[in-house]
């Protein structure tokens, strides 16, 4: 299962107003580390489907949202709860390291 893509049109509904904790993966096609971390996020998403939604936002297609969340490095993974950013992880990391960073939201 691959993470859903969100857009300017669906961001509020999928992320801001989501009852569940949501991780937004800010990424781009030309970013090698983004492509490397993408399958790892898919794995984390499918193993923790009950606790966490994981969605992807393409910064090329939706620069306004990237600017709003002050993205200057990708991959940038932001965890949202009740519409607020509660955690930011920057850079591709191995699965074990990402799970450690996200431990509070996977428990």
């Amino acid at each position: 299962m691959s993470a859903r893509a969100v857009t300017d049109a669906t961001f509020d509904q999928e992320v801001i107003n989501n009852e569940k904790t949501v991780l937004v993966d800010f990424w781009a096609e030309w970013c090698g580390p983004c492509r490397a971390v993408s399958p790892i996020l898919d794995q984390i998403a499918s193993e923790n489907a009950d606790k966490l939604d994981i969605v992807k936002l393409n910064v090329d297609d939706f620069p306004a949202l990237a600017a709003k969340y002050q993205i200057t490095s990708i991959p940038a993974m932001k965890v949202f709860q009740k519409g607020e950013v509660v955690k930011t992880v920057i850079g591709a990391k191995p699965k074990v390291a990402l799970e450690k960073d996200l431990a509070a939201y996977l428990a």
């Binding site: 090698g32 490095s73 191995p94």
Partner: protein
Amino acid sequence: MRQIIIIGSGPAGFTAAIYAARANLQPLLIASSVEAGGELMNTTEVENYPGFPDGIQGPELMAKMQEQAERFGTEVLYDDVTELELTGDTKTVTLGSGEKHEALAVIFATGSAYRKLGLPDEERLSGRGVSWCATCDGFFFKEKTIAVIGGGDSAMEEATFLTRFASKVYVVHRKDTLRASKIMQERAFANPKIEFVWNSEVVGITGTDAVDGLVLRNTVSGDETSLPLGGIFVAIGNDPRTHLVHNKLDLTPEGTIAVAGRSGKTSQTGVFAAGDVIDPTYRQAVTAAASGTVAALDAEHYLALLPEDLLADASEPALA
């Protein structure tokens, strides 16, 4: 048990794999989960790798090397090594997944990692205007004034690349001459968006939520000045990635893995090293590839001289 495991997936690792595979050693190559392909994955055009007169994109070059290694029977695993047991005849490699693999010989080709400035605000502002990867992050600095720190080829490449996005790029360097190759220097000097700030050392990064500038100290006069900026890219060199072998293999005073003469032989029998992790000086894709060849040939000779019974155990490449 295997005959050989190669750790690392840059030019050194994949070239070692091509040679080991063609020697029928059925190598297992541990490529890392998120850094597979190594440093060239974050570069654009590679213009100095022989055989590509029109240049080749870094990621494409690595894909070709991998294809060539796999063609001869290399098995590639996208996982990270977490632990190594290198003493004795049988070496054990533990992965992030918990899997353990055994082999009679190991080639260590983990390359190097970006060097940090070592300033207190660097970590806090990383991803908030402090970056190590121009090709990943340049996009976010459209029409901004930014700085590249460093004076080598990678600093020149990043500065030149970043002028596609930024309105102005300062290159901040500690000395008044560059270490970069002539062609890279000339390209940067000729670029109207690039301005050099010589003899300047970065002593501080400023900004609350995001980078807003640098504090520089002139290395000649000692004067401190501040330079307002929208972002900085750090390209001050690399450090060999040796944390897995501390206290297991001898290192040189430069911090690279020590090898005997021009060989790839480390201080531990049956363990070989190649590429940037043994090279404090040249650090080119082509020197890393050559070094991978040396390590693979050394490993092949080592394996050929091992007793028959050990080799018989290693004929089946299975999980430990």
